[in-house]
Each structure stands twice: as structure tokens, then as C-alpha cells.
Symmetry: C2
Subunit: 507 residues, 2 copies
Amino acid sequence: MPARLISPLWNSLALERGGAASLQDQIVGYFRDAVLRGRLKAGARVPSSRALAAEHEVSRITAVQAYDRLVAEGYLVARPGAGLFVADSVPDHHLLPDPAPARPSRPRPAAAGRPRAALPPLPAIPPRPSEVLPLSVGIPALEQFPWADWGRLSARLHRARAPELLGYGDARGEPALRRAIADYLGPARGIACSADQILVVAGAQQGIELIARALTRPGDTAWIEEPGYPLGRVALSATGLALAPVPVDAEGLDVAAGRRVAPGARLALVTPSHQYPLGALMSLRRRLALLEWADAADGWIIEDDYDGEYRYAGRPLAPLYTLDRADRVLYLGTFSKVLAPGLRLGYLVAPRDLVERLSALKTAADRHAPRLPQAVLARFIAEGRLAAHLRRTRTLYARRRLALLDALGRAAALVARESPPAGLHLVALLAGTGDDDAISRRALADRVHAAPLSRFYAGAPQARGFVLGFAGTPETEMAPAVRRLADAIAAVGAPRRARAQRASSAR
Amino acid sequence: MPARLISPLWNSLALERGGAASLQDQIVGYFRDAVLRGRLKAGARVPSSRALAAEHEVSRITAVQAYDRLVAEGYLVARPGAGLFVADSVPDHHLLPDPAPARPSRPRPAAAGRPRAALPPLPAIPPRPSEVLPLSVGIPALEQFPWADWGRLSARLHRARAPELLGYGDARGEPALRRAIADYLGPARGIACSADQILVVAGAQQGIELIARALTRPGDTAWIEEPGYPLGRVALSATGLALAPVPVDAEGLDVAAGRRVAPGARLALVTPSHQYPLGALMSLRRRLALLEWADAADGWIIEDDYDGEYRYAGRPLAPLYTLDRADRVLYLGTFSKVLAPGLRLGYLVAPRDLVERLSALKTAADRHAPRLPQAVLARFIAEGRLAAHLRRTRTLYARRRLALLDALGRAAALVARESPPAGLHLVALLAGTGDDDAISRRALADRVHAAPLSRFYAGAPQARGFVLGFAGTPETEMAPAVRRLADAIAAVGAPRRARAQRASSAR
């Protein structure tokens, strides 16, 4: 078959000099496109690199390299002594129907493929403002972050050029950090454990997910606190668990109700030190009942001790973990609340016989936490800086909590819900009726982040109000922020009544 | 009911002064234990704080605070005017049968609970030495890590005390990093995408898992390359996928074989730029066949471009992603191979309509990657440091690759498998027969990490040999390392023959 020469087409190659793409890239792109679109047919001979270079005023080396790439990518084939030809391995039906694809500096056009079948269901992620605002829940005092110590410890690590921190690490986390955490947990939380039982994770979120994946099967049921932690629900349902909301009261999760609602549950996610969000301290009676349930049901308990370090009167209570004699409790701690959420570092304390299992799933999920930040945190704890930071922020948060209570006391539309002096947030109920979600959105526009209590319920909300963080809000900003929230309550209440009146008069 | 006084028991409280636990902690621990073990019965009155203080020579405040805690924890109750009593909320059958629990500074004893039912199956994690050794696969030149730039950029960030990096961030990753990656991918890999299509993940491992969870259901089938990436298999099977190993040849994954083996597959995990571990470059014909399969089967392709930046002759090839017109390819890049695995940072490029879904699963898994390291990396890329690092290491790795080829050429027991000049590793087959796994273990004892090829097969190994990394091994160490591997081959071969002889003479 005599080779057809392609010079007519050839002239459509228009090179742009000084553009974003190199001349070589442009030549390669031109030929790729022409082959895929069928403008260059299989077996057609392409001009020699010499001719290409001369015709388009590019260097010979540019032309040769462009052709080399096209051969390497399979668009062209070289027949020794005869020249370069369009490969015959591109079947006709692969030719592109759409106009020329964008060059590498521009995104490609939208999909032109077949419509897609329904994808697996996804958990709904609650919205969160992109910046930290007054009253944001779950945010510590970021302005207190120990930058100086953190920077000093980081700089030391960078100067030491520790290559051993650059390779793959232990799935359970850096040994130095696990030792530091184990040593910290004794005095800080009364937990006796060894470094072998610690698993460093990317915050409580990953901890909940790993435990659920390690110990349950899709379709199993988990008890969750109602109301409870929305992203905990997300983690559990993302692993395929069915969720059984169990009411909480002043003694924490109602274990008897859990047995009625979902007797076959295999997992319970609880916050015994300071129920999230209502604040109850789980009573000893309930703690023992929960442990008894787990032992009898072959079930597991995730103790999410997200803010157990913060108690402003009396001493912190011993975690559920310390009462467990059947190795059914997995204790979950986080540095998000004692340092900063942006670090994405937390830890599990697991019964010894579960560590290997959790570590295998951590490997499958992301191998291990980043090593340099772990090394910095390990030194930070071992030097006693974390304990000092906790002492400092505890005093600060006690003051901020009182400032919030004071401001709430002067807002007629809000009633502070009573709870033990602990944690980083308070719940304020609406004094009247109202749509806390709509009010929250209104307040957000006024730069106050008042998380609506209704979103903490998996089922129908039993109360309306707001979960208000005080730890990240300076005392002087507390009253103005609560005032703006009260304004939002008034503003949303008024048009709702007006709308309701209009609606009833229209009937 | 008259309260029984507990003084007889009482004398068993022995306080240790100057020990690890405070006096207050010891008192609390003593009472907790006595209540839980039944030595103190419900309703029993405990001595007054004054009596406690006098009897045991502690300050009154210590005694009062200890009792306060015991009341708060529910072990004691106060009856106004009558004193403190053991609470009646601890049912008898919760009393502990085992001896006194260890104090907080010692780990608790092993579980005394009921035996556990079978837990869900877990993927087997391939072993990996805890340190980087000569010939370790998947490890770049860690001694080339840009510590100076990394330290300078980190220090700048610490000095700036950027509180906006401490709160919760975007699940998709820092906007600055996503922009930097999108800008980098054009010139580096010919990929045109916008920052909105990028999702920062904790390395390729998490990328594979997130994609599988986002786009498939447990029980679906995935094509994997045979041989292929062992931890890729782990990620896919951990999400509940069935694995269909599809053979690879000199053109990469055999798409026609895949259609025969598992016609209903919904996902394919491939390494088209440099097949892992055999090194083939996927041919254009196969690429088009794979894309056609995905479009027709409503399937998805994970393009794991783990070392696509490294090609030592010619130019890097355009990724499969750039050929995809049906938005079926999710491109996966990592900074593990171009910088360091310990950073745990990688990225996906996803079709636009899948970004929200992937981002929701990233939130469920761990919310987002740590923010400070992301900010450092963003600046590192934007300043052009990554491009410079790539240029430098490309030259270095080309030399190291030749040094390994040279050393293999002089080892009679090993045959280097031919593959394009690319990537960070080579495959060396055993010239004779032998147990590559046993040899690998032997070599490890001699401080050489020669990953056995057989472990890269999901099914029965079709070849025996080793996957040898050259990027992290200095040129001068290459020949000695290969010699130690050859010694291990000789050592393992000999006793095996001897054992076989003994076994046959015994019959």
C-alpha cells in the first residue's frame, strides 16, 4: 500500500510562539489530536522531521523530539528506511466526536460519555462556615496556640535533617508520640495504659471510623446518643452501620432505652465525660449498665473523650475506660480541642488484642499519620508544654464560660441549659418557639456561628436552641455575639409570624 | 436503717507518700476499689473528712476534695446533716472479681470478660522493614529531601502565626495547595484541570480507598493488575470489593482478559505509565480499550501515576486521564515518590461531578489533611522548588538505575527484566528456581531489602524474583547490596537442596 502523504492537512498546524505551551508540546498535541479525530488515517506517512522543521521554522531537535514522543505514545510508528507513519492501532470508533480538546493549560470540557447509573448513597455532611467565627463550637482558643514552642521544635527537627522520619512509618504512629501520650494519660485522665495500646489517628473522626470498620460488619447496628455528634453519625453510617438513636438525659445515655430500641446493637458511641452536645456527665449507674451491656452483648463501646481535659470545678472524672474490666471500651482522645483541629491528630487507647486489627485498617486507610508533625507533638508533650498549655487554657476557658453564661442571662430570647462546669461549649435553648436552623443561617450572615441544636438530632428534634462554643471567643466578644444572635432570633421570628399571618389570611 | 460504720476496713488504706500518685488520688482509688469490690456495702457511712484527715495525716482539704470527687463520680452520696454514705447504685453483680486494679501508672490486667465472637475478616498487610534499607522499593532519595527549603517555609508559617490554618479546613484540601497542584500538572504531566477537581489525600493509599468507597458498593468487583500493588489490593478489599486479578503483559493490563475474567467489574486499578511492579508502559491500543470498557460498563478507572514524573529517556508520557472523554478516569498522584512517603500527601484529579461525593467521604474518613504541612507544600510548589527537585533527582535516579543494572549484570543468579527507562525500581528475576520469599527474609537479615516478586501476585506467582528500588540507594552501595542479595540466594538455595536430600533419604 503506497503511503499517502499528509501535507494538505499538515498546513493546519499553527504554532503559537511565546505561549504557555512549548513548540514541541504544540506539535505533539496537533498530531495526537489529528490521529484521534481521524484527520490523519492509519498508515498515512507524516513529513520528515527535516521538512517539519523547515516548514514551521522550528529547530530540527524540536521536531525530532516531538516525533519521538509520538512514536513512544503509539500514535506514530517508524518503518526503518521508509519514515514515520500513523499507527494502525487506533480503531475508528475511538475517534473523538467533540471539538479539539483544550490545551494543557485549560481544563477539559465536560463529560460526553454515557449517563451514569446511580452511585452508592452518601452520608449528608452538615454545613460548616469556612472560617472560625464567634461562638463556633468545637474550636479552642486558636490565638493561644503555642506557635513559639511549635516553631522551635519544628526548626530543631528540620536542622537535624532526620531522614528516618521521611520513609514509611509505623501504622500505629511514631513510638515517641505513643510513649508521650501513654505517659500523659495517667496524670491527665487517670488512664493506665502502655504505648503499645495507643494508635495515633487523624482526629476523632478517623478513630470512630477505624473502630467501626475493625469491629462491626456492614448492616450491624450502633447506638448513638440522641442528640449527639453529627459527624460521628456520618463516620458510622459511612461504614455501613445502621444507627439507633438512644435518648440521653441528665445521667447520659439511657442504657435501658437502648436495650429496648435496638437490642441487637454491636457498638455504642458515647461521650460519658461531657455529653455532646447537652453536657451531662454519665452517672456511675449508667456507666456500669453500659459496660454490662457490652460484655453480655459481645458489643463495643467507643468512649469519645473529646473535651475531658476541661473541667472548671472539682477534678476531671475518670473515664469509662478505667472501669472496664472486660476490655470492651476503646478510648478516643483528640488534640483538636486541646491544641488545634487543623493538626488532625488524635489517638485511640485500645484493648491489646485489638491493636493489630486497628493497625491493619489504619494501613489500609492511609498507612499512618504524617511523621514530622507527630515528632513535633511528641516533644511538645514530653517537654511538659501540653500540660502547661492545658493549665493556661483551663483558666481562660473558665472565664470565657462565665462570660457566655452572663451574656445569655441578659438575652431574654435564650435560656442557658444547665450542665456541669466543663467542656468548650454551652447549650442555649430558645425561650419561645422558633426555627433554630433559620436563625442560625441569619446569624451567620451577621458573623456569628450558632450551631442549631436541631441538627444534633438524628430524628425529630426534641428541643430547639444553639450549641455555642465559648473557648475560641474572647470575653469581650461574648456579649456582642450573643446580642447578634438575639437579633437574628428577633429577625427570623418576625417575618415568620408575618408569613404565617399572610398564609392564614389567604386561605 | 442505721448506718454501719466502716472503720475496720478503713485501716487497710495505706497511703504512699512521695509516690507517683497524689494522696488525693490514692484516697479516691481506695474508695472506688472498695465500693466496686463490695468491701464497702451500699448504705455504709464513711468517716468524716475530719476523721479521715486526722487518721491518715493528710490535710483536711485533701480529704474534702477526695470525697467531693467520689460524690461527683457517684460512689458516695451525701445526706445533709448525716454525712457521707456508699451509694446504692452499684448493683452487686458489678462487683469486681479480680484482684485490685493497677494504679494509673501501670497498665491494667488483661481482659476478664466473656470470649469474643469472630470479628470481621481483615486484609493481610504485607510486612515491611521498619527502616529504609538498600534496594527498598518505593523510597525516593531521602538524603536529597529539601530540608533547607522546607524548614524555611515552615519557619515563615510559624512566624506568621496564621490562626486561619488552625481551625477546620476544606475537606478537599487547602485552596492554595490545590491551585499549586493544578498548575504543576499541566507542564509536569500534560493534565489540564482546575483546582476544583483536585482533592488532597493522605497518599495514594487513601486515594484508592476513597474512590472505591465513593463509586462502588461492597460486593462489586474490581480489576487489579496481576502482578500488582499489594497495598492497592488491601485498600480495595478493605472496602468490601471482590478482586479480579487481570494479567499484565508488555502492553500493560490485558483488557480483553479482564472482560473474560470479570465481565461485570465496576472498577479498574491500573498503573499505565509504569506498571507496578513489572514496568510496562500501557500501549495506546490498550488505553483506548480500557476507556471504552469503562464507558460501556458504567465503570471507573483509577490511574495510579505513582512515579509518572520519572522517565530517563524521552519525555514523560501523557496520562490515561488526558485521553478520557467520558469522565471515567480518576487520576491519582502522590508526593511520596517525588518528596517523601513520611509526608503522607497525595492528590486526586476527579471528574467534576464526582468531587462533592469524594469530598463527603473524605470528611467522613478524617475531615481533611493536616493544614500546616499543606501550606508548606503549596509554597514549595508555587516557588518552583518541586520542579527543581524533580530535575535534580531525575538525573540522580538515571545514574542509580544504571548502577543497579550494572550490578545485576554481574550477578549470575539474577536477570534484570527489561522495562522502559522509568520509575524508581527494577525487577530482577531469579536465574534458577528458588523461594524468593525465603531469600528476601535472608537478605533482610543482611540489611538488604529485596521485596519478593511473588508477593505482588494476588494468585499463584507466575515468576520469582525481586522488586528492587534504586532511587533511595547511593550508587556506591548498589553493587554491595546486590552482592548481599546474591549471597542470600546462594545461602537459601543450598540448605533447601540439603533439606530436600535429607527428606528423600528419610523416605
